[in-house]
Symmetry: C2
Subunit: 144 residues, 2 copies
């Protein structure tokens, strides 16, 4: 096996091929932290173009990070929900938050949330996870 | 303040503007896990082009994630070292590893390392961190 082949099978490379771009991670941020689950909410993402947004949402559905369904509250719209494997991206996005809160001077991280993460990251993840399982109606069949 | 303005100041957005692309995160992976610190080693990254590699390394230096210095062992070459704030990206990259090891069936994560992360992530981070502080000669002036 060549070095390049080995590298391509690297779990980090395979992960990044799925979600390793700014727009995808911003969509996940909106889902995890802003309770956004609709196309017409995601379009408010930092100057995202609708064709990029469509592409990234489709990729997330294709890779079983999100599920796209008719919104029961508005049948002319679609709602995006996290899958169990999508939910497991929460720690990655939270680490990006924490780095940014510590290392980008101009950031506007909410102080109470930053302090909670700094004090006890696992508890913050657990609470957010439980909230998302409820609101997205995620069926967890096993825990890692 | 508009919603868009608020979002742009988001620590996740600001972080992703620095390192939110596949190539940058693969360079960091190589630094954290493969002890690569030289341009002619990074060129082995998954089919990266040399102009992208040059751009991403320059960006990491510009954003004080890496320092570029003459290599004392080979004065005709340059060596890249982590800064304290670069080192703090280790938990993010480790979370990406862990997600990929759990959720990409074709990945080749080393089993012993995966098991260690699964069992006790904070200890793995602590050990890797100490190793990198030594090998990159990182001057830590404060802990977060």
């Amino acid at each position: 096996m060549t070095d390049d082949k080995r590298r391509s099978d690297c779990p980090i490379n395979l992960s990044l091929e799925i979600f390793g771009d700014k727009w995808t991670l911003l969509i996940l941020r909106d889902i995890f932290f802003f309770e956004n689950r609709h196309f017409n909410k995601f379009v408010n993402l930092e100057n995202i173009s609708t064709n990029i947004l469509t592409d990234r949402l489709n990729r997330l559905v294709k890779h079983q990070i999100l599920i796209k369904e008719k919104d029961p509250k508005n049948l002319s719209a679609f709602v995006y929900s996290l899958t169990p494997r999508g939910l497991e991206l929460l720690p990655t996005v939270l680490e990006i938050f924490y780095w940014g809160a510590n290392h980008t001077p101009e950031n506007c991280a909410p102080n109470h949330f930053y302090k909670a993460v700094k004090k006890d990251k696992p508890t913050v993840i657990k609470r957010l996870r439980e909230k998302l399982i409820q609101s997205h109606n995620i069926k967890i069949t096993s825990t890692l």
